[in-house]
Subunit: 122 residues, 2 copies
């Protein structure tokens, strides 16, 4: 029988400090729920076939697109459609929940030192 | 070109008062992000092929399973695997974000007056 347990976001966030390193905290229907902390500027990239959801748990950040910038604050989420170039930039630390297919690489089509091919499950 | 907009959870929650009536606030990768308010007891049901995520935004509720009860508090989420019978019960009003496939009916395999075959997009 499958074990059903709840996940406490605050507790999971306290388990890591590094930036741009998403941690898997849940999986369902081929999708992953991840927690990540941003600080500074990420790389420009896109995901060819995957839409990506960013839900801000603490703080705020700017999602840069080629034609505009959207500031996403605590309690707000943004869905970046597949194929759309984007770059998250966080002036201060921000904690974000991601929802995306299990196959998604954080840097999408970009080659970068920030790419994490294997993610921790916490 | 696809329009990218952020969603403010608080604002969306203020747009409806009825219980057990999920509203669609986002879609990605064939999945829906929904907001719902619970109060009282729902019906026992299961989803044959869909896992379902419940993330508590405000308040708390009990998820009853046939062999245990899990209290899910604000800032916590629970994933109910496909095929698992469950029944949400909320003593007081609770606001929940759901993440599940676009095909998911809230009452799963149960026949109920609470079934909402068509959901509003807000």
């Amino acid at each position: 029988m499958e074990i059903v347990n709840k996940v406490n976001i605050e507790e999971k966030l306290s388990m890591f400090t590094e930036y741009w390193s998403p941690k898997i905290v849940g999986q369902l229907n081929g999708q992953h729920v991840k927690l990540v902390k941003f600080h500074g500027a990420f790389v420009w990239h896109k995901h060819e076939v995957e839409d990506e959801l960013f839900y801000v748990l603490k703080g705020s950040f700017n999602m840069e697109f080629r034609d505009k910038v959207i500031t996403v604050n605590e309690g707000e989420f943004l869905i970046v459609p597949a194929g759309t170039e984007h770059r998250p930039v966080a002036e201060n630390e921000v904690a974000v929940m991601l929802f995306e297919p299990a196959t998604t690489l954080s840097t999408g089509d970009a080659t970068s030192d920030l790419t994490k091919p294997v993610l921790d499950i916490i």
